[in-house]
Each structure stands twice: as structure tokens, then as C-alpha cells.
Symmetry: C2
Subunit: 726 residues, 2 copies
């Protein structure tokens, strides 16, 4: 197995190099001696050092709530700047960049309220939850409004859920209660409005988050990691990423802003998240017929559709549910904190490492678990730089993004402001947001080209099994080229700040974290997510005692960062992209080909394009792995730059700014979001599904168009990989 061999030979020096930093394809061979800076670096970055650093940094970051643009947020800005401007351990430079963005907050003087059963507040189990800066649960970007109507239960608020419900009763004038999951937050309201629903309540069912447990007497936090009955997941109820008033423009003073009423992808009707104790009080009183089996949750009652409204036997009988919501939009200044280590040889090539800084409340896990890791990596590298012992070949940029929780705003504004420079120069973007969801195993997603970079990181995990060996136990797949390997996920969504880098800029990206043992829990996410319980105490007690997984992620991400920033050749493997494209084509052929052909549309041009891509990738790979190349390159730096440019710009070739006119910010024709369940090219899959459903000739024509778009992009990418002569 080729991969195994690379791993083995690449990591012969592991015992000496605690961090395991190896440079690209031509790193440390067995028996070679490490450059002095590398040994120096390895001496400092031992496990204990990162561990202590992460824990204490983490404690500092999570002392107070630091929702975007609040005083707590500003304190973290100052903390980042102090660290990155430190004369002994700081970076070459660090500065803040402010954007004036449109956020949405509850009204502190007029709390949102849901009547029929007063709305519970999140119960304070520790003093931190009593902090007056804890923002009350609300649906950011949900409109203010007072609505009143009969309650219905609409499962997860998917369009199909409302359709099912609408087949049973009239939804006009009703308030729907739905559980988290299945559909995006904003979509739960967007899907509801066309049916006449006038308000929505959202809660987290104990089935989905607590493995069914519900009692804070002995089951939930503070007795375990599970969500207490009054806990509420806050969140951005907004589908598009970036500042909502300045699409495609950085939100500076003076920038054109669309009218607030023109914002799309936000709830058209009032919506409010509530705790499951409130939800239980409502759902278990509902009348009407029983909802389907797969709509049922963990409450000890039948989940009924609603009469609409409550059962005649209920004390609430004949009562409406009333929502009094006072959310309001505000223009606020949100800061990114930037830091940089200039490259020694190619300062105009950037490896960007980022995470957001803002939280909903204290944000111990989200995002401070990631920020602590970023600070630790920056500190270790900064120290080497300040001591004059090391400088990477390429420039490393650290980004501490603001207002991510409101829809990836800081990173999106950054991408918009610097679109040309970033497009031209960025080698890769590394995102570590929540660094530790749980402490079982590594999880990674990214472009196929970086899979190999992550695999090469072969440091010991928390229990002395290597990260790689542990990972492959939990999550693996069969690759045509490599056999059984850990499964690296695709970046099709917009769950964190990588979205602007992958989807808008076409920058090769990856996202790393530690995550669950899925055999022990079916929790949608760690239960304190976006609640007032996500505190240092919670993190250190239940998520990562001893911060060992933080340390593993720090070493993994740091190792990847250095490989990308320091290798003479970039460690990207373009043949792995070919494997993914081939898989997409065969999936598309299996699912769609017969029907496409029946509609006069051929898959052959797409197949031919993928073949061309494979041929070009194989050829470039051969060049890169040619044993004489390193020798050759030492005297021909432009030859290395040429190959690196081909690798760096590969993902850029998949951008088509006109491919998805209705999907804001999505330009990458391989990784754009997809509604269809068929795991293939998103434009093709969604267009074919639509054509299948409608049978309309115009819809089949759109499927053909999307096939041509992706065919041209893949052919174009193949042209960029094909070697220039001489």
C-alpha cells in the first residue's frame, strides 16, 4: 500500500520530533537528520506544554459571556491582540479589522415571552449562568411580533412535515412547535409560512440530544453532559452567510446596504426557541390525532398533531398560544483579529488558519476550544519566530473571526474585502472551530487533495494509539487507491467559517476536530451547544478532562499548518481529487443516467472530462513523485513554484460564479450545498431531482445545463493540471 509506505518512511524521526513536523513530500527520510529549527521546535512543543497552554488560555477566554460585539467580545479582542503582539511569543504583526454589520438581538427591557405556560428561563446551576450578560434565548434574525393561535406539532419543520400536517388539518393562523434537526433553523419558519402558520416554537427533544434523559435531579447537567430541561439552543436563523445588508461587499462605513426588508433567507414569521420542559408542557397537551411514529420523541406522552390546539381534556383547552417577541436588528462594529508570520521564501503565498471568537454565552466549547488551540499553535510558532530560530517558507495568517454565530459574518466580510488577494495567493485554509466535540476520535473534512496531509500526521493520541490508528477504527472507507483509510468528509455545507473560503473563494480547505464515539450516544451535538451551560467547568468536566484531546487537535492542526506553510512542494495530492470525481460520476450514472438518456442528455462529455482530469492528475503526480525531482528543484525554484501554483489553484478551477444564482456565496461546482440525497455534483443532482418531479422539458434542460457547467469546470481543471511543456 503506497499510503502506508509514505506514512512509515515519513515518520521515522517521530521519536525525536515530538510534534512530528515533516515538510511536504520531501520531508525527513529515514536516517536523515532534522534541520536544527525543526529539532528546536520539537523541543518546545511537547505534550505538556500544549496541554497547560490550552487549559489556561481556555479559562481566560471563557470567563465571561462574549457574544459578538458585546463588552465580553471586546475583552477577547484585547486578549488576542495582547497574545499576538507579545514581544516574546507573539507574531510578526497583529491588528484588528472592524466591519459594521447587521446583527439581531432580543430586547433586554422587554424579554421575549411565550404565553400559555410562562416561558422558563435557563436555570442557573452555577454562578456563571446568573451573569446578567447571558443573552436570553432567541432566534437571531427572527422578526419581532405578537402572534396568537392554536398550537400544532410539526415534527422538524421540514417542508414535507408541514405538507403532512396540512393534509390533516388547516394550518391557517396556527402556531407550530417543531424540534431541532432535519431542517435549518430559518427554514423551520420559511417552510411554515406558505401554509398559513403565523408563528413557530423550536425546542430540542431529549430523544435527539440527551439519549432520552430528562431529569435534572440526577440525569442532566450538572450531573452529566446532558442538556437540562430549561436549556435552550440559541442560533442564527439566517440561511446566507455574511453580513445580510452587504451581499458580496465588505461591510465598511459607507458601503451600500440593501434595505432591511430585502434580506432573504430569514424567518418571515415570529419564531422562538424554548427549553424542552416548556415544550413538553405544550406538546403533551395537544389534541388531534397522533403524529406518525417517526415524529415521536422522548416525552412520556403521545405527540399529537394538535386539534389544532390542545386536547379538550387539557387544562389549556381552547387556549391559544401567544408569542410576544421583541428582537431587533442593530448595526454593530464587529472585529476580526488578524495575526501574521511572514514567509521567508514565498511571502506572497498564504496559509490561513482561523476560528471565530464570538460565542452565544461563555462558549467554552463553541468556539473557545478552537480558539485555545489556535492561540497555542500561534504561541509556539511565534516564540520560534521571535527567537529568530525559524520562519516558514510561506506566510501564515491567523484569523480570529467576529460574529460567526450570526452567520459566519467576520470571515465572509474578510473574504469579500480581500477577494482578489486571497484568490491569488492562498494555498489553503485550516478551520478549527469547536476543536473537541468529544474526546473519542479525530474528525476531518476537506478537499480530497488534503486528505493525504492529514493522514501524514501520525502523532500519538490520548491513549498512546496513534491519532491515525484510532481514527480509522471509528470512521473509515474503502478507497480504490489506498484500501481502508479514515474517512475524510466533504465540505458541502456552511457550518463554520470555512464556507467563504471553500465555496466563495475556491480555496482548498479543511476542518479538524475531535468528536464522539457514536456507539455511546446519538446526541445531535454536544448537549450544552449554544446554551448557558457551555462553560469552562462543563468542558473540563464532561468534554475533555485534562484537555488531552485539545492537545491532540492542536498538534494535528499545527502539524498540518506547518506542512502546508513550509514544504518546498505543497503536499497536495491531486489524484485523490480524481478519485472523488470518479466516484461522483459513477454515483450520477447509477442514479440518473438512464433517465437522462431518455431525455436526450448524455453523460459522456462528463465522463470524458473526468478521464482527462485523471490523466492529467496522474501525470502531475508522477512528476512530483519522480525521485530526481528534488534534486532538480533545488536549482530550479521556478519549477517548484509552477507545480505549487497548479496545486494551489486546483480548487479555484471549480468555481463558477454564475452556476448557482439562487445560492448566495456558493460558487464551487463540486462542493456547493445540495438538497438531493444523491452524493454527486450538487447542481446536477438537484436539477435532475427537480426534473424528475416535474417532468418538464425546461427542467431537464436545466439538468443538461448543470452537466455542461460541471463538465467544463472539470475539463478546465484538467487543463490546469496538464503539464506546461518544457
Amino acid at each position: 500500500m503506497m499510503l502506508k509506505k509514505v506514512l512509515l518512511s515519513g515518520f521515522a524521526g517521530l521519536a525525536v520530533l515530538a510534534v512530528g513536523i515533516l515538510i511536504g513530500h520531501f520531508g525527513i527520510e529515514k536516517g536523515s537528520s532534522a534541520p536544527s529549527w525543526m529539532s528546536d521546535l520539537s523541543r518546545d512543543v511537547d505534550e505538556k506544554l500544549i496541554q497547560d497552554g490550552a487549559a489556561s488560555t481556555h479559562r481566560e477566554l471563557t470567563r465571561v459571556p462574549h457574544m459578538a460585539t458585546t463588552a465580553g467580545d471586546e475583552a477577547t479582542v484585547q486578549y488576542m491582540l495582547k497574545n499576538w503582539q507579545d514581544t516574546d511569543t507573539g507574531l510578526d504583526a497583529s491588528w484588528r479589522e472592524d466591519y459594521r454589520v447587521y446583527l439581531s438581538f432580543p430586547n433586554r427591557d422587554k424579554p421575549n415571552n411565550v404565553s400559555v405556560g410562562e416561558l422558563c428561563v435557563e436555570k442557573a446551576y452555577q454562578s456563571e449562568q446568573d451573569d446578567p450578560e447571558v443573552v436570553q434565548p432567541y432566534a437571531a434574525y427572527g422578526p419581532a411580533g405578537e402572534v396568537k393561535g392554536r398550537l400544532v406539532y410539526a415534527n422538524q419543520g421540514k417542508a414535507s412535515d408541514y405538507e403532512t400536517l396540512n393534509a390533516t388539518l388547516s394550518l391557517t393562523g396556527t402556531i407550530a412547535i417543531v424540534r431541532y434537526g432535519g431542517a435549518g433553523r430559518a427554514d423551520k419558519a420559511i417552510n411554515a409560512a406558505p401554509f398559513g402558520v403565523i408563528g413557530v416554537l423550536v425546542y430540542t427533544d431529549p430523544y435527539d440530544i440527551n439519549d432520552g434523559l430528562m431529569s435534572d435531579e440526577n440525569e442532566t447537567y450538572p450531573h452529566s453532559w446532558y442538556l437540562p430541561p430549561s436549556g435552550v439552543e440559541r442560533g442564527s436563523y439566517k440561511n446566507h452567510f455574511g453580513d445580510p445588508l452587504t451581499p458580496y461587499l465588505a461591510a465598511k462605513n459607507g458601503t451600500y446596504r440593501i434595505p432591511v426588508e430585502n434580506i432573504t433567507g430569514i424567518p418571515p414569521i415570529p419564531i422562538q426557541p424554548i427549553g424542552f420542559e416548556d415544550a413538553q408542557a405544550l406538546i403533551c397537551e395537544l389534541g388531534g390525532s397522533a403524529a406518525p411514529e417517526d415524529w415521536q420523541g422522548s416525552f412520556p406522552c403521545s405527540y399529537n398533531f394538535g386539534g389544532p390546539g390542545f386536547a379538550s381534556s387539557s387544562p389549556f383547552n381552547n387556549s391559544d398560544v401567544t408569542l410576544h417577541l421583541y428582537n431587533r436588528g442593530e448595526l454593530r462594529d464587529s472585529a476580526n483579529v488578524m495575526g501574521v508570520i511572514w514567509g521567508s521564501v514565498e511571502p506572497d503565498r498564504y496559509v490561513i488558519y482561523g476560528n471565530h471568537r464570538d460565542s452565544w454565552v461563555h462558549g467554552a466549547i463553541d468556539p473557545s476550544s478552537g480558539t485555545a488551540v489556535m492561540l497555542e499553535i500561534a504561541r509556539v510558532l511565534g516564540q520560534k519566530v521571535k527567537a529568530g530560530k525559524w520562519r516558514p517558507r510561506r506566510t501564515i495568517i491567523f484569523g480570529s473571526w467576529g460574529a460567526e454565530e450570526f452567520g459566519l459574518i467576520g470571515s465572509a466580510e474578510y473574504a469579500e474585502e480581500y477577494v482578489s488577494k486571497l484568490s491569488q495567493r492562498t494555498v489553503a485554509y485550516i478551520n478549527v472551530d469547536i476543536s473537541v466535540f468529544a474526546n473519542a476520535t479525530l474528525r476531518a473534512s476537506g478537499s480530497p487533495t488534503v486528505q493525504n496531509v492529514i493522514f501524514k500526521v501520525n502523532i500519538p493520541g490520548s491513549d498512546s494509539v496513534s491519532v491515525y490508528d484510532n481514527w480509522i477504527r471509528y470512521s473509515n472507507r474503502t478507497s480504490a487507491a489506498y484500501g481502508n483509510i479514515p474517512n475524510v468528509g466533504h465540505m458541502t455545507g456552511a457550518g463554520s467559517d470555512y464556507a467563504s473560503f471553500v465555496h466563495y473563494l475556491g480555496i482548498t480547505s479543511l476542518d479538524i476536530s475531535y468528536t464522539y464515539d457514536r456507539s455511546t450516544t446519538r446526541a445531535r451535538i454536544y448537549p450544552a451547544y449554544h446554551t448557558a451551560y457551555d462553560t469552562f467547568d462543563y468542558a473540563s468536566t464532561y468534554i475533555d478532562p485534562g484537555f488531552t484531546s485539545h492537545q491532540t487537535v492542536a498538534r494535528t492542526a499545527g502539524n498540518v499548518l506547518i506542512r502546508l506553510a513550509d514544504g518546498l512542494l505543497l503536499p497536495f495530492n491531486c489524484s485523490d481529487y480524481a478519485e472523488t470525481l470518479e466516484q461522483f460520476v459513477s454515483t450520477a450514472a447509477e442514479a440518473f443516467e438512464a433517465q437522462l438518456v431518455a431525455n436526450g442528455i448524455s453523460l459522456e462529455p462528463l465522463k470524458a472530462a473526468v478521464k482527462r482530469f485523471r490523466t492529467a492528475a496522474t501525470s502531475l503526480d508522477r512528476t512530483i513523485h519522480n525521485s530526481d525531482l528534488l534534486l532538480l528543484l533545488s536549482g530550479r525554484p521556478l519549477r517548484a513554484r509552477m507545480i505549487n501554483d497548479q496545486l494551489m489553484l486546483l480548487d479555484r478551477a471549480f468555481l463558477d460564479p454564475l452556476a448557482f444564482p439562487n445560492k448566495y456565496g456558493y460558487r464551487h461546482v463540486i462542493w456547493a450545498s445540495r438538497s438531493s440525497n444523491v452524493a454527486t455534483f450538487p447542481g446536477v443532482a438537484d436539477a435532475v431531482e427537480k426534473a424528475r418531479a416535474s417532468g418538464r422539458k425546461e427542467d431537464w434542460a436545466q439538468a443538461h445545463k448543470h452537466l455542461s457547467i460541471v463538465t467544463q469546470a472539470i475539463s478546465g481543471a484538467a487543463h490546469t493540471l496538464a503539464e506546461a511543456q518544457r
Copy 2:
């Protein structure tokens, strides 16, 4: 004067170097000895050699009509391939690339006809005009149809012309006759249809083309260069460039094609171009009141509006004019012929030199004057390469585009197919289409950064005055930085194949030709343009006797090509872009600022962005002109590549694919087409004009949006010029 100094010092070696090939900013200093390949090259490229080559090549190219995709076109494909694949004088490689494109032709069996006065055919003065392959005059992409109505005279067919006419009489059911000029070909029909006009005739008024002369007894061709009475300008009546059925996609077999009925930017009503003898017979019989003074032409009669229809005194009184048009669309295979000389040091950097190959008839001037120049340059360079005496630093790509006359189709399909590779690697595009409109003076247009490259070409012109000194006599402007210099035009239109490179790909481009002495003629263009009279005989007798101007253009364009392909540093001057931006800002401020401010919109962010751009450009210029840099660069090739990448990608930073949703293929926010007469940023100018006219708040908002778009693009460009540290 800084520029003068550069010119003088740069050209000390001129006596030795007949071609004057100097490399970038660090070419041959006074007293330095030229590299051997340069002397070798200069020995071959003497005036006589180019002269002979151009004339004989020209004769070959123009023997038969070679309209796109005809047998004559295929013969030129074979001729190009034979030349570029020649073992002694050919290029490294040459090949054809075919696209399946939608063209429009008259029906050979059913000629288009205009009745009331039978339509004259172009009179044959020489056997060439009798060639059965001469395509009858028609409006390509004009619909087939038979329409009949009263005639009216509508000046140039501008929207305002139809408005004027409509204020006098009802246009419903009329046929309009209009002269060329003032509005695009297709627009003459597109503007007409909303007023109820059902057909359009187009002619060339002797006032606009012949300096008033009309008689073929003694005044027009074959007695002079002027258009004979039966001559008709053919043309593409289509506003968007590229294959009309495959917007943004290369027109391969299997590519998705839009329905023919969805093509936009083509005439919605029948339209036919006719000769001025036919036009005179119609116009001088029109009734109604006299048209305004500036609608009058050279016919010896009053140009009346039409009654509608003819005067009661006319023999045509009460007659309708009937158009019987039989044009039809066809899918045809059109070829680009590509040729390449691979770069020695940076094969992944491209300088592209192109011209179209297809003509309307024999196309001696359009395009063969340019093709002859391209072949000559390729032959001279190919000979050096084949002899092993020279190879450029960067790759040179020659493109002989097909189907340009139908709307820049070959070059647009090429740009679409290779969009990613070309965007990533192309240093510049040089277009020489009609190389000699007339033999008076050089004419050039291009990005401000290349102005300096053209100025440095200081070869002798036809009468021993240098090209530069001759040029500045005919066309000059005052530059803040340089004082009096030749005027290099802006590339705002889509008049030739540079359009896809500038507007769609954002590649720094230039267009070069020799042109008129405007004090001797007001002809819109050379009079045989797009007629059967554009023959070798016409070109060699009236346009460029002795082909001396062909030779001057060949040496100028060849010199520019080699400077771009061979310089260690690219010879682009980014400060000249700053000068243009400053001029645009001050023009915008003068024309718009008061009214913008009155509508709450500030120009300050734009002004600040331009200042940032100036600062960054000055800094980069200083780096480049630092006397120690050459020394430094010799040991640091990546430093040179970094600077060259900044220069190469500068125009790319001005692309915004979403800025002009209604302008197909236009993405460059500085050079996109503009309707407003205010010579500033096109999006801003057009949006402000619209807002001024309507006074609507939404329209002022759009003006603000365009200001923000251009501000962000300029800021972004400034960021790319600002030096990366270290």
C-alpha cells in the same frame, strides 16, 4: 521628463538592434552589449524581410472569400497550419480547435430582396467580386420574414431617433430606413420594434463614409478608396459576444444549448443592409416634413421623415416597401488555429497574440492585414526557435480565431473553455485585427499599464520619423506624470477579439493598428469595410501601397510581444493605472458628486480607495525601479516572480462577475461598456444617469451600489499591489 529619459536610455542600442527588442525595465543600458540571440534576431528582422513576407502572405490569404466555416475559411485554416507546422519556420506546435457554433446565413437559393426599386447587387468591377462565394449582403442574425409597410427615415436608428420620429408620426406598421453609425447594428432594430416598426433597412451614407462622394464614374472605387454606390457593409447584428446558444460555455458537441428563441440582443424584426444607390432612390422620394439638420446626409435632396411613405409627387406614391428576407441559422463547425512557442524559464506564463481569420468576403484589410502581420511575426520567431537560437522566457501563444465576424465567437469560446488556465497564467493579450486602416499613424488602445510598453517601441516609421514621434503628432494627450504623450485609448467596447480577454477574463490587453490622418477624411472606417471590394488590389492600391505600414505594425506588435514574453520583470507600469483611476474619480466628482451627496451618497470611500491604490502603486514602482533590484533578482527568481504576479494579476482584481448582470460577458468594472457620455467608471456613470432621469430612490441606491462595487475592486487591487513583507 521621466518617460523621455527611459526612452533615451532604453534605446541607445537602436542602430544595432533594428527591431529594437529590449527586455522590460532592465533591458539594454547605454553601452551594454546585447545578448547574442538578440543580435541574431535583429539581423533577420530587417524591414525588407517583413515587407516581403507581409505582402505575399497577404496575397495568399485573400485569394478567395473566406467567410467563417466556408470552404475558403477551411483553406485559410490549412494555410495557417502549414505555416505554423513548418519544420524550418514553424512554431513548437500548432493545432486546430473546433467549436460547433450557431451562425446565420442568407439563403443562396432565395436571395433577400427589397421591393419598390429592386435591390441592387454589389457591382463587379473586378473578377473577384464575381466569385460565386461572395456572400450576398445581409444582416447576420436578423430574422427571416416578409414585411410590408410605409417607409420612414429614422436617422441612425438610435432610441432617441425613433422617439423624435414618433413625436411626428405613428410608426406602427412602418419600415424604417436608417444609416450606419450612432447605434450598434442590432440596436437599430431593437430600438425600433417598441415603436411598432416592423422592418428596417440600413445603408451607409456617403457623408459618413465617402466624404460626400458618390459617383463610380470617377469618384469611388475603382477610382479611389471610396465605397461604390452598390457597396454594402455586411455585419453581425448581435450584441453579445460568443456563440449565442452557449452563454458562458464552450460550444462543444454535447454542450447544453439554449433554445434559439431565447437568444437575446439580436433584431426582433427583419432588417437588411443596402447600398447607398438603393437608399438614395428611396430616401429622396420620401414625403412628410424635413428631418432635422443633423439627420441630413450627402444625397442631393431633402431627407424627409416620410409621410409615412413616399411623397405624393413620387412615382412610388402610395407604395409600400416590402422586405423578403430568408436568413437562416445553422450550427457549423468553426475552427481556431492555435500555435505555441514554449517558454524556457516560465512556460506557465502566457503571452497571447491573436487575430481572427474569417472575413465577410475576401477580407483583405479585415482581417487579412492583421493575419499577415501575425504570420510574419510567428515566422520570424519560429525560425529563431527552430534554429535553436532563441526561446522566450515565457510561453507565446498565437490564436487565429474563427467566426469573429459573427460576434467574436472563436475567441470567446476559447476564453470559456480555458477560463481557469488563462485566468491563472496569462500575462497579456495582444490583438492586431485590421492592422492598417490607413497608413498615417499608429493607433493603440489598452490597459494603462501597457501604455509604457508601446511607447518604448521606437522604431522608424515609413517616412523615417519614428513611430512614436509620428504618433504624437496625430494623437496626444497631457499626462500628469509625463506631459505630452501619444494618446492610448481605453478598451471599453467589444470591437474585436480582445473583448473576452479584457472584459471576461480581466487580462491586460492591447490593440494595435495603423490608421487615418483625420484631417483628410471623416470616413467612419475604410470605405470597403465588410464589402466585396475589400480585396488585395484595394489594400495594396489604396490602403497601404508597398505594405510599409503593415511592416511598421508588425515591428511594433512584434517588439511589444517580445518585451512581454522575454523580460525578467514584466514591463507593466502600475502607476499609470493610478493616473487613469484618479482621472476617472475627478471626472465622476465633477459630473456627479453634488447630486450624489444630495442623495446621501458619499464619494469619499471611492476617493480613499484610489489614494490607497496610488500609494501601493508608487511603492511597487519604487521597488521595481530600485537600481539594486536587478542585482538582487538575479539570485532570487522567486522575488521576480512575485512582482510579476502582482503585475500580471492587477487587471484581474477589477473583475466582478456579478456587477453587470445585464451585460453579457462584461466583468471588468473599469472597462465595461458604458452608455453615459461621462468618461468614468461605467457602472457608476450609467446608474447615476438613470437615477438622474428617474429621480427614484431605488435608482440612487443602485448608483450607491455601483460606487461600492468599484470602491471594493480598487481597494482589492491596491491590496494586491501592496508589498508582501520580507
